[in-house]
């Protein structure tokens, strides 16, 4: 599998660390609703199809990425930096050649 890191370009799966389901918002630190915390820690939507998930480019820039990937085919639909509010995931590039055009200006989240 090849993941196109918005900063580093297309990189091998081995450089990435899976950080799990991105469909479950972490409750606010001050939230005292036990059910919400339980759901955050334990409950997963586990869809067969497009899945929003976090990956960390641990063997690269170390940024966390929000990726939409099909759990049926492993095809990656989009990659974006995680945590950027209202970020629209960017379409994945097909060819590893497109590195030169990769990425936003240094450090700017899209």
């Amino acid at each position: 599998m090849l993941i196109t890191c918005p900063y580093c370009g297309p990189r091998d799966l081995a450089e990435f660390s899976y950080q799990g389901d991105a469909n479950r918002p972490r409750p606010d630190q001050h939230d005292t609703d036990q059910a919400r915390w339980n759901a955050y820690v334990y409950d997963r939507s586990n869809p067969a199809g497009p899945h929003r998930e976090y990956w960390q480019h641990a063997g690269g820039c170390r940024k966390h990425l929000l990726i939409v990937r099909s759990t049926l085919t492993h095809a990656i639909e989009s990659v974006a930096f995680a945590g950027a509010q209202g970020a629209t995931p960017r379409p994945a590039r097909r060819s590893p050649k497109s590195r030169t055009k990769t990425g936003p200006a240094k450090g700017k989240k899209p």
Binding site: D21, A35, D43, R44, A48, R69
Partner: protein
């Protein structure tokens, strides 16, 4: 249907093997059953068998979307063991091993359970302490365990690198003698034949596409072969749990589906006589009766329903294999494949009534489902028949996660990829 025996083989050989009958009949689904079991894998078939055998409930249909045993029962590395740490697990899996020991006779089908033992190699004093804790827990829970020194390991597993200069030198090993391997497909076929002989309908190529509801209650299924109603609907679909439960409106469960790869080498003359695991990484290996080394390692580590994995895990597993057995570098990988694992949030299964009225759920097997097949079927059948769990599966509830009553063998918390 005739009993299988050496004499039946002889008789049929005489007749040119022309008189064999189907191992199980291809049933047409009826419109109504006492129990429907969704999932014609090992656990579903075992459940049907024990419903009939132990509880006299035979008006049962097993619905399989594809061919029988097409899930993990036919894709695993065939290991049977109960070398667990926590009392709940030891009790459950030890019960399973006991059922395994009688299974071939029980089913009149040779599932080839071979108690060649499983040896967990430890590579540091701290790891040895950890394994000894587990071995002692097994013994205190009524199981069997032995501690082997490197010298004893050398005799039991020739070819393993026991040199002091190894990157992770072997300091000892935890052996469970009663563990072993079985012929995976035969388990599915044996249970199918056994259930069929007791009157269960086994319906292949019948995919459940929805559930019939009366209020909250689940009263039947919609399928590619029509609507089928039943008093009780049991779900045992392993890696497909998320998909099937969504059809019942359950959108979130403490389960993720992950891909696990498995590997076989070309066929070799006898090389290793026991199941060996490598503690310097994550590797388990044994040799099949046909001579292939059968082995596997960690999950690929991302949600997947694809039954195919990627290269990093392949390379990691092979690296560990040749680290443990440097003579195998010239042996060749014949085939690899992927199975979809229903990874639960604490690494332990769920065998329970609910979560909806009329429904029963059996899931969360992670990658330990094969060895659990008999106990899973037995306790699930009990739970379905009695509408309450047996003491053996009582801890394996769905609520335990939220309650914090976790059965976390590895101590990794709610990180499915780490179990």
């Amino acid at each position: 249907m005739a009993e299988y025996s050496f004499f039946s083989l002889l008789k049929n050989a005489w007749n040119g093997n022309r008189d064999w009958k189907p191992a199980w009949s291809k049933a047409e689904p009826k419109t109504d059953y006492d129990v429907i079991i969704v999932g014609g894998g090992g656990h579903g078939l075992a459940t049907a068998y024990y419903l009939a055998k132990e509880h006299g409930i035979t008006n049962v249909a097993v619905l399989e979307k594809g061919w029988l045993g097409s899930g993990n029962i036919g894709r695993n590395t065939t290991i049977v063991r109960s070398n667990y740490l926590l009392p709940e697990s030891i009790r459950f899996y030890d019960f399973s091993v006991k059922l395994w020991e009688e299974l071939a006779h029980d089913l009149n089908y040779n599932v080839m359970f071979s108690q060649r033992g499983i040896l967990n190699l430890a590579h540091s004093p701290a790891q040895a302490d950890d394994y000894i804790r587990r071995g002692n827990a097994m013994l205190h829970g009524g199981g069997d365990a032995e501690w082997l020194t490197p010298g004893e390991i050398a005799k039991k597993v020739p070819g393993v690198d026991l040199s002091k200069s190894a990157r992770f030198p072997v300091v000892g090993g935890l052996l469970q003698p009663r563990a072993g391997t079985a012929r995976h497909d035969a388990v599915a076929w044996g249970y199918a034949r056994g259930a069929d002989r007791r009157g269960v309908d086994i319906v292949e190529n019948c995919e459940v596409t929805g559930f019939l509801r009366e209020g909250d209650r689940v009263v039947g299924v919609k399928s590619t072969r029509g609507e089928i109603r039943a008093k009780k609907i049991a779900v045992a679909v392993a890696g497909s749990t998320g998909r099937v439960m969504k059809l019942a409106g359950i959108d979130a469960l403490p389960i993720e589906s992950h891909v696990l790869q498995a590997f076989v080498t070309e066929s070799l003359k006898p090389f290793v006589d026991t199941v060996v695991t490598f503690g310097g990484g994550h590797l388990y290996m044994s040799q099949s009766d046909k001579g292939s080394l059968v082995f596997g390692g960690d999950l690929d580590g991302y949600n997947s329903y694809a039954q195919r994995g990627n290269l990093p895990v392949v390379e990691e597993v092979m690296s560990e294999m040749v680290a443990l057995f440097p003579g195998l570098a010239r042996v060749r990988l014949l085939r690899s494949w992927g199975g979809v694992m229903d990874m639960s949030m604490d690494g332990s299964p769920i065998i329970t009534t609910g979560p909806l009225p009329g429904m029963y759920l059996n899931s969360g097997w992670c990658y330990g489902g094969f060895k659990a097949t008999p106990a899973s079927g037995w306790t699930f059948a009990w739970t379905i028949a009695k509408d309450a769990p047996h003491a053996i599966n009582a801890p394996f509830t769905l609520e335990r996660f939220h309650r914090g009553a976790l059965i976390d063998e590895k101590g990794q918390g709610a990180t499915p990829k780490l179990h």
